[in-house]
Structure formats: structure tokens, C-alpha cells
């Protein structure tokens, strides 16, 4: 049996080395005394896994080693071992179960994802996603404690972070961002993660500048268990039920895993936010022979949820509710949300894990993904804006003092919510009146769809040439087809609509062609389910080739990697639009880009406790497809000023790993050159959808990360993390503004935003915590978090010459208009308490978490409205919109496992 050492390699595979002596051990559950299989065992830079009997072994040299055993659900075990010339046989290592804290952590991060209703069609979630059992003490603390305040590690946008699931890349081909909600609710299936921050090396892909994560869903790697949990919360959902099953490796070589869940509530903490999310995961793996294992994974998270709006401060104050949501209204006594997101994005992945010989292993992957992603929205035709917080409906817009007072009073006392929320009955009535005169419906709900279909294949190898020299590399290809269109979702009692652009009708008076959205069938009466408005397909091919060489010595590791990428894409218009009759249907120009990158890094192992690690990389990337088109919904018109972006990044860390204490100090600096940003918005003045593309955006992200933990006693551990960042714009980008209906010519202007702050994340954060756990499986966590230097997203148009035209030199208005708003700093206090029991063969866990105990409602972000009054320059006319954090929330979970 000793010889039958089955190493359950994850994608990184395993490290077997043949030195003079062996280090052996067995890992067991401290409570049940049963061996634990498939547990990651790290010896300095080597990594292996325990076999079916919980055993592991390494060949070792005579020196000092740090042995670390990282197991999900257990406390990490660390021991410093002095190896002499003989074999070392360690005592049985008993891992102490940590109750269910890690899965709870996921739940906390998950609820803050994507609940906001941004204008963009499909946004990724800018939540730090690299939740994994890494030894990075700063990020472990920051990810868990600061996710609720939208802290992004090093300020990187999520499009710079590459996420793979079992070898399939999850970043959206169109906006570059991974969308974690696509596999929401599958915490157990997605538990096995490997990831790095920044430009560190990874064995499964070349990686991005912001980090790389691979989630391994191999059934053989899932914990053998039957588990059911129920959670009660007052965040975005009230109830969550999860079930997970792992068969372990069966005698016939098969492994199976199942994960299913439902998260739901009629209304989350924010009014009108219905939530109904299901999730499923099915995994199977068959060990064909000693060389091949084939794994299948199928998963998806179908959900339907009502979105939250952002609003102006005036609306929050009038309603006395910082979570005021203008998206809903009563319909016959029930809350109805106009913005319902309905998505289901199933994925199918097949892996072939091929161990060619002792030195070479290859992982081949085929993946396919289908996405149905739609968000409903009210639309209206030559009728009053139905959104209750439209600026003209607010008291601040009223000139007449008496009317202002009456409106203020009506906002503050609105028992039937027909003023402060959507008045559905009125929308229906107006449509009924329209029916009575044979007119088209005046108000409808449309669903904007962003569907896709994609296919990918990849092959990744690892070749262990010698004990010291390893080569990794791979090939990756993806074909992406994204289809964007809208359908009529609900006529709200009306009978039909015409597919005309009502604003073109006004802007091109007397022109009977320009207003038509679909020249193929111009006078069609659109009914529920019909596609209308716009319909286009984006097609792209992406191929990547990469390689890496790693040299491992006793006192240092060094690696170098490089990649070459090819990307080509085009737009295929499926509707001939009257505004772009000769440039909307059919294929656009094809854009092609060749990109490359090189990364280098190393670790100097001063001793088993002290390390110095450094990484550097220079990467180029193709522009985001959507940023190349100025009116992507209805035209093939392209911007030719958007080019390849380049990133230069480096970091250096000092790491201490002791038996009682860990610490890491990192300094990093990243340059982003020639980024492009797309801001799509509805222009109130010109009454048309408007796109602003910023090109030549340069930024620098620099800062320090300091993290540490200290085991005060057997029961108490103190943790602390401090992040000091400085994320700034360093160029004056050019803004191209394009009016979708073409009523005005495109304009370009210089944006004076040099040294502006990057928004969307606090730049300075601090977190300290105290953890208590005892042998009777009680644990208590207390955390205090502080953040500062959180800035409002700014409107580039307000930083142009036009915006401050006609103001005298040194006019104080100039500063008022151009200054970037800093949001208040914030402080939160969180606590968790948990206990677990073993009753015969059942493990029962309960834990209770309260976030933001003080209940302070903090502005967690926001943006300046794109509309600006160039005449009066009155900023109060179109004030910024803000988001507020939830305030005090709780999460209570019960789990039963056998």
C-alpha cells in the first residue's frame, strides 16, 4: 500500500521529487480520527495531496522545511521540520474542523454582487473574487472583511483578472470581465480554487495583470460528503438551501459530485428586490486507466431578480430611506419591479487529465457555454417619464414655492406610493386610453437581451524536466458569438407598438426613413415576444499560446513566462436601421490584434521562515470589443483610435511564516497605458442614447499591503491588514461622443482628468480582528474595518474646456465643476459566532454572523450624472447618484453533514 501512493493532482498537478530521504505522514480529522484524502500538503514550494488513506510523502534534502496543510473547513496546520539524512515519519496530523466559516465567507461576498442597476448592459461584478485558501495573509483578511465595501485588491478592475473553471476561461469576450453570478449558489462545487494576485506565476494559464484564478470542479477532488445547509439572512435574499454530495473515488474509478441550491426572497433588504435563484452542478469523473482520467462538469445558476436603482441624495432624504429603490411600484397591492434580471448561463466542460509519463502531464479541455441574459426595463413613447425620481418630479426642480412645498410634502407622505414609486395603475390606464383611440401602447416593458454562445478548447502541459527545472505551457482557443437585441416583454394593457425611434421622429422632422428601426418590416405592429429596436451579433476568435519555465533551487525559485495572443472580431448587424441604412446590416470591418506578454519572478528563500518574493510583467491586450463601436446597437460605425493597451506591473513582498505568526508586506506598482473606457448613457438634452468612448486613458496603481496574524494562545488569534493605495489617472484622455440617432455629429474633446482618482474602491483600507476557537468547536470572530479615499466616479464631460467655457480666469466655479468628490470614510464592526457538534455520524454546525453591527449606512459608491447644464453650470440640477451600503445585516446558517 505504501507504494500505491495516489496523488490527486489538481490542475497544477503534483510535485514528486526523488531526494535522499523521505518525509511521510498521515492526515486525519481530529474529531472522527478518520483519514482525510485529497488534502493539499505544501512543503516549502512543493505541493502534493494525501491519498485515500490520508497519507502523503515527499523526498527531501537535509534542511529546514515548513510543512503546511491546507484543508477546506479545517484550520491550517503549519510545522517547521528539520530534516537530517534519514527518513522522517511524522506523527498523525489531526486537523481541527473549523465549522463552516469558509462557506459562510462566500455567502457574504456573494450577496454584494451585482445587485445594483447600472446603466451598462452587462457588467461584471467588481467584487474581489480571489477567495481561495492561499497563504496570502493580507488578501485573506481583505477579501473576507472588506468585500461588503466593494474593496478591490490593488484597485484593479475585474477585467484584468482571469478566471478559469476547470480550464475554461470565464471572462466575457465582450467586456473582459468574469461574472461570478453565472455560477452563484454553488459554493461547494466551486470551493477548490487556486489563484494568484497580480503577475505571479500560475501553472494553468499565462494570466492577467490583476491576478488569475482557477476553480477546479473535478469530481474526484470534491470532499466525500452529503451536506445540506439552510441559511436565513436579511441581505439580498432571506432563505438559502444548499445540498452537496461528493462520492469520493469509487472502486470502479468513478467519482461523482452534486451541488444544488436555491436562494430566494420575496423582497431583500432593499424594497422591491425579489430574488429567486436556483443553481445546479453535476460532476462526474472516470479514471480510465493509470494515464487518463476524464471529467465532466455541467452547471448553471438560473435566476430572476428585481434590481435596485441608484438615486440622487434628494430622493434618499425625502423618503428617509438610504436604500430607496425607484424601480418598483404597487400593482394591485403587490410590489412590482420594472427591472427584472433573468439569466441562465449553463456551462459544459470536459477535461482529459493525461499523465503521459512520470515527467509529462497534459490537461485537455473542451468547453461550451450558452447564456440567456436579459434585463427588463420600462420604455415609453411620447409620454411622461414613468420613473418616480426623474429630476423634473423632484421638489428641487420646482420654481413655484407653493408647488415645491406641496411636492416635498407629497414625497414625505405618500401612503399609497403612487408618487415616490412607479404608478403602475396609471401606466395601465394610459395604455387603456390609447387602446380606446386605436393608438399604440404608450408604456411597455422591454427586455434587453445579451445572450451568447461560446466554444473553447485548451491544452495545458507540465513537463518536469529535472527535479529543478519545470516547463509549463499551453494553447487556448475560444469562439464567441454574442447576440444582443430586445424583445417586447409586456404591453402593460396596450395592444401593440410600432418599431420607431420616437426621438428620431422629432430630430428628423419630416423624414420618414430615419425613424424606422427595422427597414425590413417598417410598419410591423410589435407584439409581446417580438424582437425589435436593435439586433446584432458580435463574433470573435481568440487564440493564446503560452509557456513558462521554472527553476527550483533550495534557496530560490525563479521563473519566466511569455505569451502570444491573437484576437479578431466583428459586428454582424441583423437589422437595417433607418438612421444608418447603409451601415447597419451585415458584417462590419474585421478588427485583428496580436498581443504578447512576458512575466518574470522569483522567490528568495532566506530560510524556512523568511522569504523575499518579486514579480514583474509587461503585457499587452486587445481593446474591449464594445469600445470600438460608437453606436454598437444600430451601426457598424467604428472608432479607429482605440488601440492595443499595455500594462507594466511589478511587486515585491517580504514574507514571514512562523509557527505562531505570519506576516507579509508587499509593495506594488502597475501602469495601465492606453486603456479605453465606454460610457453609455441616455442624453436628456438630445434625447438619444449617447456613447462616450475615452481613449488614451493611462493610470498608475501603486501601494503597500501589510498583513499578519498572530496566534496569541491556543484559542486566540489576532489578525490585521492594512492596504495603502494610490490609484490615479495619469493622462488626459480623448473623449469621443457619439449620438446614436446621429442627430448631431460626433465630437471629440480632451478630458482634463490627470491625477484624478480611480473610483469604485476605497484606496486605503484597514482591518483588525480577533478570532477565538476552542476544542469544543466554538468559535467567535470580531473584526473592525476602516476604509478611506473612496472617490465618486466622475463625468468626463465636466472636465473639458466646453464645461468651463465663459468662466473667467480663477473663477471659483471652475474648481467646483472640475473637482472630484471624495466620499466619506467608513468604519464597520462585524462579528461571527459558531458552534459545531458531532452527533454520531452527523456533523452539525450553526453559525451566526452580523455585519456592520453599528448599522451605519455608508455611501458605498456612486457616479456623477452624465448630463451637465453647460449654460447655467448649476451642479445641483443634475446631482450625483449614490449607492448606500446595507447597514446592519445578519446571516444565520445551519448545516448538517454526514
Amino acid at each position: 500500500m505504501k507504494k500505491k501512493l495516489l496523488l490527486l493532482f489538481f490542475l497544477s498537478s503534483f510535485v514528486l521529487s526523488y531526494g535522499q530521504s523521505l518525509l511521510k505522514g498521515v492526515v486525519c480529522d481530529a474529531n472522527s480520527k478518520k483519514p482525510l484524502s485529497g488534502i493539499a500538503v505544501v512543503l516549502n514550494t512543493k505541493q502534493g495531496f494525501t491519498d485515500d488513506l490520508g497519507k502523503f510523502e515527499f523526498s527531501v534534502d537535509p534542511q529546514e522545511y515548513t510543512l503546511m496543510i491546507v484543508a477546506d473547513g479545517y484550520d491550517t496546520y503549519i510545522k517547521v521540520i528539520q530534516v537530517a539524512t534519514s527518513d522522517v515519519l511524522m506523527d498523525t496530523i489531526n486537523l481541527v474542523m473549523k465549522t463552516e466559516l469558509p462557506s459562510d465567507a462566500m455567502a457574504v461576498a456573494e450577496v454584494s454582487m451585482g445587485s445594483s442597476d447600472f446603466e451598462s448592459s452587462k457588467e461584471g461584478q467588481n467584487v474581489s473574487s480571489l477567495l481561495h485558501s492561499s497563504a496570502d495573509v493580507f488578501n485573506n483578511i481583505a477579501d473576507f472583511n472588506l468585500s461588503s465595501i466593494r474593496f478591490r485588491s490593488r484597485g484593479y478592475d475585474s477585467e484584468y483578472e482571469e478566471v478559469y473553471i476547470s480550464g475554461m476561461r470565464m471572462n466575457d469576450a465582450e467586456n473582459g470581465r468574469p461574472s461570478w453570478s453565472e455560477w452563484g449558489g454553488l459554493n461547494d462545487a466551486m470551493r477548490n480554487k487556486q489563484g494568484v494576485y497580480g503577475v505571479e506565476s500560475t501553472p494553468f494559464a499565462f494570466g492577467g495583470v490583476g491576478g488569475t484564478t482557477n476553480i477546479n470542479t473535478r469530481a474526484s477532488g470534491m470532499r466525500k460528503q452529503n451536506k445540506i445547509t439552510y441559511a436565513l439572512s436579511n441581505r439580498s435574499y432571506n432563505n438559502r438551501i444548499t445540498y452537496s454530495y461528493g462520492s469520493g473515488v469509487l472502486k470502479n474509478g468513478w467519482s461523482f459530485s452534486v451541488n444544488a441550491s436555491r436562494r430566494w426572497s420575496q423582497e431583500g433588504m432593499v424594497e422591491g428586490t425579489t430574488y429567486d435563484a436556483w443553481a445546479y452542478f453535476l460532476g462526474a469523473e472516470k479514471k480510465i486507466n493509470s494515464k487518463h482520467s476524464i471529467a465532466f462538469s455541467v452547471f448553471g445558476s438560473p435566476y430572476k431578480r428585481g434590481l435596485q436603482s441608484s438615486s440622487v441624495q434628494e430622493a434618499y432624504e425625502l423618503t428617509g430611506n438610504n436604500l430607496y429603490n425607484s424601480n418598483w411600484g404597487y400593482q394591485e397591492g403587490e410590489k412590482r419591479n420594472a427591472r427584472i434580471r433573468k439569466a441562465h448561463e449553463p456551462k459544459f466542460i470536459i477535461n482529459d487529465y493525461w499523465k503521459v509519463n512520470e515527467k509529462l502531464s497534459i490537461t485537455n479541455t473542451l468547453g461550451a457555454s450558452y447564456s440567456r441574459y436579459g434585463t427588463t426595463s420600462l420604455n415609453w413613447f411620447d409620454a411622461l417619464d414613468p420613473r418616480p425620481d426623474y429630476y423634473r418630479y423632484l421638489p428641487s426642480y420646482q420654481l413655484d414655492a407653493y408647488a415645491k412645498a406641496a411636492l416635498t410634502d407629497a414625497w414625505k407622505n405618500d401612503p399609497d406610493k403612487t408618487l415616490t414609486q412607479i404608478d403602475w395603475a396609471q401606466l395601465y390606464n394610459i395604455n387603456y386610453i390609447a387602446n380606446s383611440v386605436g393608438s399604440q401602447a404608450k408604456y411597455v416593458l422591454e427586455e434587453r437581451r445579451d445572450d451568447h454562445l461560446r466554444f473553447m478548447g485548451s491544452s495545458v502541459f507540465k513537463y518536469q524536466k529535472t527535479e529543478e527545472l519545470t516547463f509549463n505551457g499551453g494553447l487556448e482557443y475560444e469562439y464567441f458569438i454574442g447576440n444582443h437585441f430586445k424583445t417586447l416583454n409586456d404591453l402593460l394593457g396596450g395592444e401593440y407598438i410600432y418599431d420607431y425611434d420616437q426621438f428620431a421622429e422629432r430630430d428628423f422632422a419630416g423624414d420618414s426613413v430615419k425613424l424606422i428601426n427595422n427597414l425590413d418590416d417598417p410598419n410591423k405592429k410589435i407584439l409581446v415576444g417580438d424582437r425589435y429596436g436593435y439586433d446584432y451579433t458580435m463574433k470573435s476568435h481568440t487564440a493564446k499560446l503560452w509557456g513558462m519555465a521554472t527553476l527550483t533551487r533550495n534557496n530560490f525559485d525563479a521563473w519566466v513566462s511569455a505569451n502570444l495572443g491573437f484576437n479578431s472580431f466583428y459586428r454582424q448587424g441583423n437589422m437595417q436601421n433607418g438612421r444608418y441604412a447603409d451601415n447597419s446590416l451585415g458584417k462590419s470591418e474585421v478588427s485583428s490584434f496580436i498581443t504578447y506578454g512576458i512575466k518574470v519572478g522569483g522567490t528568495w528563500k532566506i530560510s524556512g521562515r523568511y522569504y523575499v518574493q518579486g514579480n514583474a510583467g509587461y503585457l499587452t491586450r486587445p481593446p474591449v470589443m464594445n469600445n470600438m463601436f460608437t453606436s454598437i446597437r444600430i451601426s457598424n460605425k467604428m472608432l479607429d483610435n482605440v488601440g492595443i493597451e499595455s500594462n507594466l506591473s511589478g511587486d515585491i513582498s517580504f514574507i514571514f511564516k512562523g509557527t505562531r505568526a505570519n506576516a507579509k508586506v508587499t509593495a506594488y506598482q502597475t501602469y495601465f497605458k492606453n486603456q479605453s473606457e465606454l460610457i453609455g448613457f441616455y442624453h436628456d438634452v438630445y434625447r438619444t442614447y449617447t456613447v462616450m468612448v475615452l481613449t488614451g486613458v493611462d493610470k498608475v496603481h501603486q501601494g503597500f499591503e501589510i498583513g499578519g496574524d498572530y496566534k496569541i494562545s491556543k484559542s486566540f488569534t489576532a489578525v490585521g491588514a492594512l492596504g495603502l493605495g494610490n490609484y490615479r489617472y495619469t493622462s488626459r484622455p480623448t473623449a469621443y461622443t457619439s449620438f446614436e440617432n446621429g442627430s448631431l455629429p460626433d465630437t471629440s474633446s480632451t478630458v482634463y482628468s490627470k491625477y484624478f482618482y480611480v473610483s469604485g474602491t476605497p484606496q486605503n483600507v484597514a482591518s483588525i480582528g480577533l478570532k477565538y476557537s476552542n476544542a469544543k468547536y466554538w468559535f467567535i470572530d470580531l473584526n473592525a474595518n476602516y476604509y478611506d479615499n473612496l472617490y465618486l466616479d466622475f463625468n468626463p464631460a465636466r472636465r473639458t474646456q466646453t464645461a468651463i467655457a465663459n468662466l473667467g480666469y480663477e473663477d471659483p466655479m471652475i474648481e467646483t465643476i472640475t473637482k472630484q468628490e471624495k466620499l466619506p470614510a467608513g468604519f464597520t464592526l462585524d462579528a461571527s459566532i459558531g458552534k459545531s457538534w458531532r452527533v454520531k455520524d452527523y456533523y452539525i454546525g450553526i453559525n451566526f454572523n452580523v455585519s456592520n453591527i453599528l448599522g451605519t449606512q455608508l455611501k458605498s459608491g456612486g457616479f456623477e450624472q452624465m448630463r451637465f447644464d453647460y449654460e447655467t453650470k448649476n451642479l445641483d440640477k443634475f446631482p450625483p447618484k449614490y449607492f448606500y451600503g446595507y447597514g446592519r445585516t445578519f446571516f444565520l446558517m445551519l448545516s448538517v453533514r454526514m
Binding site: N226, Q266, T274, D276, L384, Y402, A403, K442
Partner: protein, 426 residues
């Protein structure tokens, strides 16, 4: 196995709970709600308007309720932030600070207005119901509208416009829907209802058979503003208004232009002599020539043999070449005036030629004098030539000319303008 069964039980229980918890997010269509005001009016619109003191703004302190049928709204954009309602007694314009009013207040919709708390005032002589704005009558803020305007039932049949003639309009017809038959627009077929270059609105002259006119006022924001005025004769419907003593008509949309029979008459010539061109002059005798001149706002071509003395002259004023083969039923008209001569003294005569070459001495060509022309009798009194029938004349290069001849005694001054030649295009 037993423990597993228990576990299965837990799963079944949890599953049952999961599947049975439903999140409601689908909605039925609510039933059609037929609005009902639930109260009656207590004064007619005419009597209500008569309550207005006649100057300034009057606030309405009593529970006054009027009712009426909507006859004008903002659907086409020609009427802005106003409704016009009408009952048997008359109509009134209600000024409301809300856009897209027509979605609720369709033409034919019956509404009740609780006037207490509102204001009566005038603008340009038109009595309006609204709200106080800087001491004058203004629009009622949106927040108050629901307290004053009440729908009653769904929109009914639109009111039939009362047939009127321009000359017999009276103040009682203001803010009501009226119809005029057999009318035409000046510049019909030539100009649009309202140019986009004007600041807000523009007027067009509408004319009836008797020659009476009324201004038709159109906003640049009306969806028919860029449409060409109909040519020919037809019927026009609109809401009657007044501005500083002059009646105005607001068309609600294109459907208010009814049965215009296109008039195929076109102008081959329509010259008012702000300059001589496209006419040319040719001097055969004497150094005095035809010139463009103006007096009292009227432009004309002028010729006189007098210039600090009397000089013999023969001078021609010749039109551009006209292709009469393309037209039928050509009618020539012009206005003329003279002084210092006697009626019908023959010093000015109108001719045409089919063989003139376009340049050079007109005496080289054959000219035929028009007969039956009415000439001025002197004292610069404008005379209309009367309709001169040219339908019998054909040719691709036909010229019309005015020939002035004088000796050194009895030297008159002649003026000619408004030379128009209309024809039906073949």
C-alpha cells in the same frame, strides 16, 4: 443505512420547503378602469369665463366646477402644455405644466375641472384658466393637476367642429373647435407651416372666397411644421384663438386640413421688382431708361422721359423667355400706375413676341399688343391690368414686354409691378 434514511428525510423536507416557496414576480393585466368623476359641474364654461374681471389675474375662491370635452391637446406638438375643452356654451384653454397631456386627455375625453384654487387671466386677449406665475396667468404645476382635473369615462367621439366664416367670427367662438370651408393658404404649395429657423412659431395667411383672411399659427415643434402648406382650396379645422385683437387658428394635426383640391396653377412669372432682373430693359431712343424703384413699401419698375427737362424716349422692359408650350390656360396680370399724362395716352403698352431673340433691338422682332388691358388713369393710382388670356399663344421662347414711348411734350412717368403669369402645367 438508517442514518442515511434520516438524511434523505432531511433532504426531502428541505426540498419540499424549497420548491413550495414561491417568489411572486409575474403579474396579470389589471382590468380596465373606466374613470368616473362622481360629481357634477355647476357652471357653464361661457358663464365661468364671464366671471373674469377683465384685467390681471383672478383667483377662484368658490367651488366652481366646469365640465367639457377635450377639443385641443398637445398630441401634435402645436399646442403646448395646454388643453382646450368645450361645452355647449363655449370653450376655454387650461394651462398645465405637464407634457404629453394627450395621453390622458385625448380629443373627445370628457373632463371635469374643479376651478377653486386656480386662476383666470388673459394672454393677448384670450381668457385662460391656469395658475399664478409672476403676477400673470401661468401653467398649473404638475403636482396640483390631479386635485383639479378629473376624467369621466373613456374618450368619446370628438366634437363636430362648428362651421364658420372668417368674417362672422365672434369672441364666443374663442377656444372652440371651428371649421372653415373653401379656404386657401397664401403661398400654398410653396412654404411650410413653420420654418425651423424661427424662434417658436410662425403665422400663415388663410383666405376665403370673399377675400377675408385669418392667421394660422403653427409652432416649430408641431410634427407637421415642416410640411408644405396645402395648395388649392379645401376645408380647415382648428381651435380659435386671438392675439391682440386678431383671430388666430391653431390646427391640431394634419387631419385638420381637409379635402384640399390641389391647384395645378403655377407661376411662370411672379415678379415684384425689388430689382429689374430677370426682366431686362432696352433703350431705343433717349438716355432715360427703365429702373427699379420703390415708394410706400411697394417695389416697381419705373420709366420717365423727364430728367430736368423733357426728352424723347423709346424704352422696352422685357421679360425672360417663357416656354408656353409646357402650360395651358396662361393668365397674365400686372399692376401699373402713372402720372403727368392722361388716361389711355398710349405712352405705355404691353406686348408679346414669339420671335424676339432675347437680346438686341426689340424692333427687329414681331410684337403683338395685348388688348383689353386696364391702365392707370393717373396720379400714381395703381391699376390692375385685369386677367389677360394668353392661352392661345404658343412658343418655346415667348417674351412679354412693356414699351414706353414719349416725345418732348406730355411726358408721363409709368410704373409697373406684380407681373404674374400663371398657367396650368401640361
Amino acid at each position: 443505512m438508517k442514518k442515511f434514511k434520516l438524511f434523505l428525510g432531511i433532504i426531502a423536507l428541505a426540498g419540499g420547503f424549497t420548491f413550495s416557496s414561491c417568489v411572486k414576480d409575474d403579474f396579470d393585466t389589471p382590468p380596465v378602469l373606466v374613470p368616473e368623476a362622481g360629481f357634477e359641474s355647476n357652471i357653464s364654461i361661457a358663464n365661468f369665463k364671464a366671471l373674469y374681471s377683465g384685467n390681471g389675474v383672478d383667483s377662484i375662491a368658490f367651488d366652481t366646477i366646469i365640465q367639457g370635452i377635450v377639443v385641443g391637446n398637445d398630441e401634435s406638438g402645436n399646442i403646448y402644455k395646454s388643453l382646450i375643452i368645450q361645452d355647449q356654451s363655449g370653450g376655454i384653454e387650461i394651462k398645465l405644466d405637464q407634457s404629453s397631456l394627450y395621453n390622458q386627455y385625448r380629443i373627445g375625453q370628457k373632463i371635469y375641472v374643479k376651478c377653486k384654487g386656480m386662476y383666470l387671466g388673459t394672454y393677448g386677449g384670450l381668457v385662460q384658466l391656469g395658475y399664478l406665475y409672476q403676477g400673470s396667468i401661468g401653467r398649473m404645476p404638475e403636482i396640483f393637476i390631479k386635485d383639479h382635473l378629473f376624467l369621466d369615462s373613456l374618450p368619446g367621439k370628438p366634437l363636430v367642429p362648428a362651421l364658420k366664416t372668417i368674417a362672422t367670427l365672434s369672441p364666443a367662438n374663442l377656444s372652440t373647435i371651428v371649421r372653415f370651408d373653401s379656404v386657401s393658404f397664401d403661398d400654398g404649395g410653396a412654404r411650410v407651416f413653420c420654418e425651423q429657423s424661427v424662434s417658436s412659431a410662425d403665422d400663415r395667411v388663410m383666405r376665403d372666397k370673399n377675400g377675408s383672411t385669418i392667421l394660422v399659427r403653427t409652432s416649430k415643434y408641431a410634427n407637421f411644421a415642416s410640411d408644405v402648406l396645402p395648395s388649392g382650396i379645401g376645408s380647415v379645422v382648428g381651435v380659435l384663438s386671438i392675439y391682440n385683437g386678431a383671430y388666430q387658428l391653431y390646427i391640431r394635426d394634419r387631419n385638420d386640413i381637409i379635402n384640399f383640391q390641389p391647384d395645378s396653377n403655377v407661376y411662370l412669372l411672379n415678379h415684384k421688382f425689388s430689382a429689374l432682373a430677370p426682366f431686362t430693359q432696352y433703350s431705343v431712343v433717349g438716355s432715360q431708361v427703365w429702373t427699379a424703384s420703390t415708394y410706400g413699401g411697394v417695389n416697381f419698375a419705373q420709366m420717365s422721359g423727364y430728367q430736368s427737362g423733357y426728352f424723347a424716349n423709346e424704352d422696352w422692359l422685357i421679360s425672360p423667355a417663357l416656354n408656353l408650350n409646357l402650360y395651358s390656360n396662361e393668365k397674365l396680370k400686372f399692376d401699373n400706375a402713372m402720372k403727368y399724362g392722361s388716361a389711355g395716352d398710349g405712352t405705355l403698352k404691353a406686348y408679346y413676341s414669339v420671335d424676339y431673340l432675347g437680346t438686341g433691338d426689340p424692333n427687329q422682332a414681331t410684337w403683338t399688343e395685348f388688348t383689353g388691358v386696364n391702365y392707370s388713369t393717373g396720379n400714381f393710382t395703381w391699376a390692375q391690368s385685369g386677367e389677360i388670356d394668353m392661352s392661345a399663344i404658343n412658343g418655346t421662347n415667348v417674351y412679354i414686354a412693356f414699351k414706353y414711348v414719349c416725345g418732348t411734350a406730355g411726358v408721363p412717368t409709368w410704373e409697373v409691378t406684380n407681373v404674374s403669369l400663371q398657367g396650368k402645367k401640361l
